[in-house]
Symmetry: C2
Subunit: 323 residues, 2 copies
Amino acid sequence: MKSEFEFIENLRTRYSLPKIGDDCAVLPKDSKTDLVMTTDLLVEDIDFKLEWSKPEFIGHKALAVSLSDVAAMGAKPVWSLLSIGIPEAVWKTDFVERFYAGWFALAKKFNVELVGGDVSRTPDKIVIDSIVAGEVKKGKAILRSGAGVGDLIFVTGELGGAAGGLKLLKDGSQYNSDEKIWRKHLFLKQLQPFPQVSDGRYLRENNFATAMIDLSDGLSSDLSHLCRASKVGAKIFADKIPFDKKLKPIAESFDDKIDFALHGGEDYELLFTVNPKKYFQAENEFKKCKFSHIGEITANGEIIELISGEKSQILQPKGFRHF
Amino acid sequence: MKSEFEFIENLRTRYSLPKIGDDCAVLPKDSKTDLVMTTDLLVEDIDFKLEWSKPEFIGHKALAVSLSDVAAMGAKPVWSLLSIGIPEAVWKTDFVERFYAGWFALAKKFNVELVGGDVSRTPDKIVIDSIVAGEVKKGKAILRSGAGVGDLIFVTGELGGAAGGLKLLKDGSQYNSDEKIWRKHLFLKQLQPFPQVSDGRYLRENNFATAMIDLSDGLSSDLSHLCRASKVGAKIFADKIPFDKKLKPIAESFDDKIDFALHGGEDYELLFTVNPKKYFQAENEFKKCKFSHIGEITANGEIIELISGEKSQILQPKGFRHF
């Protein structure tokens, strides 16, 4: 069965669609500015479950995932459209009020204005389409396709926390606000992820990143998308991956951590590449920002190697896919 | 239970959202141009049924309904994002290929470029979110709120055909290409509506319209939206309403026709108002364009009167609503 990535690549070729395939589409706005646009469809029981989350978190996450795409272009989010489809039984509850409260609380942090949307009835599941526009200096959006051989690979923040939270939920736990600290952290990484808009803009404004993508599907898949777009390969060093420290109680073995951090997805951190000459300028700054150097771009066409000590293995993209 | 219109009005007030509530949001693009943006969510078994339509028609209609919103601002459509959620069983068929073929066939007519989107899995129903951007001369988008007392009310085209097609489908008929002409016409008005982009742009470029809205929910509801936004009332003349001539075999009585034309919705024609002084300039042109003068804006705050001969009755908005 074709994956959604193959399907999109086919569309792109057949209908000549040069603007699709990155985290956002880049469109000309005025003489100094480009507009970047993204849309994310979230479907109940596929992307979220009512019994695992709460309406405020779902509203927050609907916006956060799109802000993360804008962040991955190095752009500043500016406005949004939000379509929501609701079964009649849910419409009669306080779900929509609380959903929008969660959405607006996050929107306020980034000065994102809601400019439109649509409300529809659905037969029995909630669907949300989140559309966010951002602005970036003309010609300066950071694409997936800019990585060069020898560039260093970095990630922001720590990885695997969102997958850890998902494991707690799948194992039958439910979030409540007086959880132990480590559990609360993991739950919230999954249910209320924070988009790295500031880091994205910082990297753009300083011209540090040659390519960037957000970590939504999982490091193994997202790095593979970036390598395909840039027509390069990569090697990453297992001992340099910044595992989420709060994972410890549920992922003691190295393989568990690797699974969470490399294939789990939904951390909404940023993965980016930096020219090594530029890195000498950035080294101290990057330490302050807690960016982790995890690997290097190679000429080994679209192959990703995972180096653990003396061992090297080919890393297959095992992140999230719908089909 | 609150309607979606009340809900949106509440959001608008509570969160101070001046840009929501028209057919499109109007956003500044550059020194000469505004961007208009719309999004329409289409849900299987609510907005379309697989057994009533075919994938090409669904793709066509997903784009057409958004183009119609752009038309209602007097803008030129330029690009689009398209999110689609599909159950796995449908993903394995040729549905998506044929859906996009229908979408692209219409997009080509208006030079609309697909710049992005999202593909997701759903548990069991198809959902589509269609997002279209248009461009219009700065400050010149035609809003719902511009109608003045004494303005004349017009519609493009003929009304009721889409509702007639829906009646055929609800009565158990299915579209096939060797239908009788009148039936084929009604089916296609419902399944493959054509957006009035040229008429919208013509009205804008000649500064003819003071206010405009597209006829998606039904004339009674859409005129009511326009009156509310403009803080005016209206009277319309039953004998001036351009009923779709192909309705005759299924709507012989006047009341049947009124139901189809006033409350049926989905004709995707345009409803607009014109200052009477301007109309003297436009009269001959309007005849060529087949625009019908159906009524007049009054000071009778948000009340719509339907005049039939000597009789006058208050027209309630009975068009489509989700909640």
